[in-house]
């Protein structure tokens, strides 16, 4: 059974449809990348999955169980399954790196502080920041902040990790440290949905690539297909323009 199934998912901002009839199936441990021109609905799709924007129609199922986006209580459940990392990190500025990671498990889940802290330290060590646990976000580089954000997302032990252009706001020399962290998670078998403009990385890490345009899934396939032998004219056109430089 697929780990995550989206069926005919649609969403809109007021009048404007931003997602139309999106279908997708993700196996456990699979890494699926979503590419496409800006405004194609990539980030919106992640926002819908994590419950920041309610779908208008369609269904989402995790491990065969339909996800309910209907009420606040249901949304709490959604957030136990999905965790998202944002382009701009969105760390809590008033908390240290360690506190950023421990706050949700202790406050939201009510878990014992000592146990959570030990886990958080391990997570921060994993993303290579064991020496910066007491630093505040404004004392960290963009790449370091983004790695804290990844650790924070993992602290709730989500089923599926959503990464929304996590390297787009970083200086070029900081991109690789974040990508290395994602590679590490991939090796652990984390199921991930990645929106990215790092095409070389997408090609390397993804088992499946989804090309979106105008809120629709235009083409889905393994990286070799999408990048070397796209089946649709739109995808071919996009890939040609992206890979030219």
């Amino acid at each position: 059974m697929p780990h995550l199934v989206l069926d005919s998912l649609s969403a809109d901002y007021g009048r404007d449809p931003v997602l139309s009839d999106v279908g997708l199936s993700v196996e456990r441990g699979e890494i699926v990348s979503i590419i496409g021109p800006s405004g194609s609905g990539k980030s919106t799709l992640l926002r819908v999955l994590v419950g920041l924007l309610r779908p208008r129609a369609g269904t989402v199922a995790v491990a065969g169980t339909p996800v309910d986006y209907g009420s606040d209580a249901a949304l709490r459940k959604v957030r136990e399954r999905f965790a998202i990392v944002f382009q701009q990190y969105n760390l809590f500025q008033n908390m240290t790196a360690l506190r950023n990671v421990t706050v949700a498990p202790t406050v939201v889940k009510g878990r014992p502080a000592g146990e959570v802290e030990a886990e958080a330290r391990a997570l921060l060590a994993k993303v290579g920041l064991s020496h910066r646990v007491e630093a505040y976000p404004d004392e960290l580089s963009g790449g370091q902040q983004q790695r804290v954000a990844i650790a924070r997302a993992l602290a709730l032990k989500p089923d599926i990790l959503l990464l929304d252009e996590v390297t787009s706001a970083l200086d070029p020399e900081l991109v690789s440290e974040v990508l290395d962290t994602i590679r590490l998670l991939a090796a652990d078998g984390m199921t991930m949905l990645i929106v990215s403009h790092e095409m070389a990385f997408v090609r390397e890490i993804s088992s499946k690539v989804v090309f979106m345009a105008d809120g629709r899934v235009v083409e889905t396939g393994p990286p070799a297909q999408i990048f070397d032998a796209p089946q649709t004219e739109r995808c071919a056109d996009f890939v040609r323009r992206i890979l030219r430089h």
Binding site: L52, D72, F92, N94, A104
Partner: protein, 224 residues
Amino acid sequence: MGYTLQYGQVTPYLGYLAGGAWLALQIAAVAFLIGWAIGLVCASVLHYGPRPARWLVRAYVTFFLNTPLLVQIFFIYFALPDYGILIGSVEAVILGMSLNAGAYMAEIQRAGFASIRRAEIEAAETLGFSRLQQIRYVILPHIAKVLYPPLSNQYIILTMTTSVAAIFGVEELTGRAYNINAQTFRSLEIFSIAAVYYVVLTVIASAVLYAIGRFLFRIKGKVF
């Protein structure tokens, strides 16, 4: 200049002046607290309130920001008794200063609300924070940190503004200095000492506020 400084003539009054400084401190603190509360309510209305309420608050703020404090206090001091509301001079001064400071602090705190970072709240939401938890752990700490420096400044300004109370016969620091001057005519000595008292009041307040800001909000700034 044929003037010889004779501090010896005014030293007997140092304790008397210190009492005035103490009263100035109390007036500033009370006016600050009331003004802060008024400002908080007004800022909430300006940021979240319905339109008619916003207009009302806007009118209050505009009026008090654009008329002199002294005129406001005169109005309260002389006009209210005509309506049967009798208040003493200290109360009139505190009321005027509070209303005036409230208008300033409404604007300051409105800016604080406006600076709330939507992205951090979204992050909290996706981590499963309830609305109350978002306020407690993300919104309030942020607002407190943003508002701390301008509100501290406001307090220092209020300390010095207390001197207008002298005009209404309140025996705070300036009022008492004026009294001593009337008896001794040692103007230079007496007002220079009063100035030193004000400096002491504000420097101590600055140092305390700085220490609090430093440890509570990690605000790194220079006081002096």
